[in-house]
Amino acid sequence: MLKVAIFLLSLTPAGWLAWLTLNDQLGANPVEMLTHQSGLWALRLLLITLAITPLCTLSGWHAPRRLRRMLGLYAFFYALLHLLIYLILDRGLYFADIWEDIIERPYITVGFATFLLLLPLAITSNNYMMKRMGRAWKTLHQLVYLCGLGGVLHYMWLVKADLLNPGGYLFIFLLLMLLRFKPFTTLIRRR
């Protein structure tokens, strides 16, 4: 039940964007709107995924743990959407421009690197791979922290002058990391 609800909920931003697109409601700069919203949802879902474990540890309610894989895959889904929108709609598959972006613009470099790190995590997010990889699976999936950091850095680097919003995401990311420290969580739980 919970899983179905979260599945549908995570799909709504994509549905909403599709609806806006079909009804010509994306505003004055449709491609930018799609780029920004897909990027934001990739980052939000990534951070929500990272929030599950500390949330369960702190609350003692462990049901949400089953949602982690699905949420992580959704983060990847929105990142993939974000990348495709950038490649096709923004740069028109013009690879000279894309290559220049990757080499010369740090925020794109970091965005790409983050996507490339997400890719193996998404591919191995199934029972078959989990069994096959054994311990290596866990090690591999520690990369998710780096993905979170990469997503936030990408955002910080692309804004012009106003760091308020990306700063908020950075704060949330750091908080989530802090909440994974045993001494810290036991301190909170003892209260």
Partner: protein, 318 residues
């Protein structure tokens, strides 16, 4: 001389009731801005209901500088704005400013000229015949638009103040009034917003003092009641809501240039061959369009302005 510190007009007189009504919804949306972190921000993408009436300008002179390219829709040109005084989001200015209408306005003229002083908006506009000029405007963020502006040549205005031989540059300042302009409560830029032009640029016939668009008064979010439009330069040079014009000897320190000198030069001429560190400038996307088109040197106005920069290294003086 009543140049500095003579605020004959209090900021409160600039605002009107609808502005004060608007304050409340503004405070509410402050919560939205913070909440925007995790909430879907496209819920904020609604049009504010227009509650101010913008007067029309009949009998505008046509201009041979006008382009015949497809004009950007009024909606797009007035809902998607960069005006950090009202917030850094593209829809913030239309959201917070569209219900504001400046009531009284004055411009202080100072510096190296024979006729300094404080001029009311009426003083400023009186002698000039208004014309319509359809210009391309290219933002440094790689979007662009085509807008029918209403105004008159900047050179005609500047002449009236009789600048002297020490007037090498003209410095412009935007209103600083955090009560009216909520974005000024945060230090996203060093307020007040300052822009500047070399005197030869300011007196080029393309430089336009602008008081309207689409045959009507400027809406607040587009820089009412008086702004510049400098069509061969990136949009941030076209300073909005001007309260001060100063003739100076040295190149003025301008807001975006101070904020990030490597990214925004003083000249800021549209130049497809000089990339911004975060954007290639070779292409642009018109508001409302999905595809991109090539950006032209000096935004397609090279015939009129390229001679101003003869012999200059435009990679260095970007």
């Amino acid at each position: 001389m009543l140049i500095k510190n003579s605020p004959d007009i209090k900021p409160s007189e600039i605002t009107n009731e609808s502005h004060y009504l608007n304050r409340r919804s503004l405070l509410q949306s402050a919560g939205f801005m913070a909440g925007g972190l995790l909430l879907p921000s496209f819920f904020g993408h609604q049009k504010a209901e227009a509650s101010v009436t913008l007067e029309s300008y009949p009998n505008l002179k046509a201009s041979h500088f006008s382009t015949d390219e497809k004009i950007t829709t009024y909606d797009n040109a007035t809902s998607y704005c960069n005006f950090y005084e009202f917030g850094t989001g593209k829809s913030d200015p239309s959201q917070y400013a569209s219900k504001v209408k400046p009531k009284k306005w004055a411009v202080t003229v100072a510096g190296a000229c024979d006729k300094p002083g404080q001029y009311t908006l009426e003083d400023i506009l009186k002698p000039h015949a208004l014309e319509e000029r359809i210009y391309r405007l290219r933002c440094v963020e790689t979007w662009s638009m085509v807008v029918p502006w209403v105004g008159f040549p900047l050179v005609d205005l500047l002449k009236r103040f009789q600048p002297n031989s020490r007037a090498k540059y003209v410095r412009f300042e935007t209103l600083h009034d955090p009560d009216l302009m909520p974005g000024q409560n945060r230090n996203t830029l060093d307020w007040p917003y300052v822009e500047g032009l070399h005197i030869d640029e300011a007196t080029n016939p393309l430089a336009l003092v602008t008081i309207g668009m689409y045959g009507k008064e400027l809406p607040m979010q587009n820089g009412a009641p008086i702004r510049l439009v400098i069509p061969w330069k990136y949009g941030f040079k076209s300073i909005k809501s001007i309260v001060k014009i100063e003739f100076v000897e040295k190149q003025p320190k301008t807001s975006w240039n101070l904020s990030a000198p490597r990214e925004y030069g003083f000249y800021a001429n549209v130049n497809p061959t000089v990339s911004h560190p975060r954007w290639s400038q070779s292409k642009e996307r018109r508001l409302g369009a999905w595809g991109k088109q090539k950006t032209l040197p000096f935004n397609g106005y090279a015939d009129q302005v390229a001679h101003l920069y003869k012999g200059m290294d435009l990679k260095k003086y970007f």
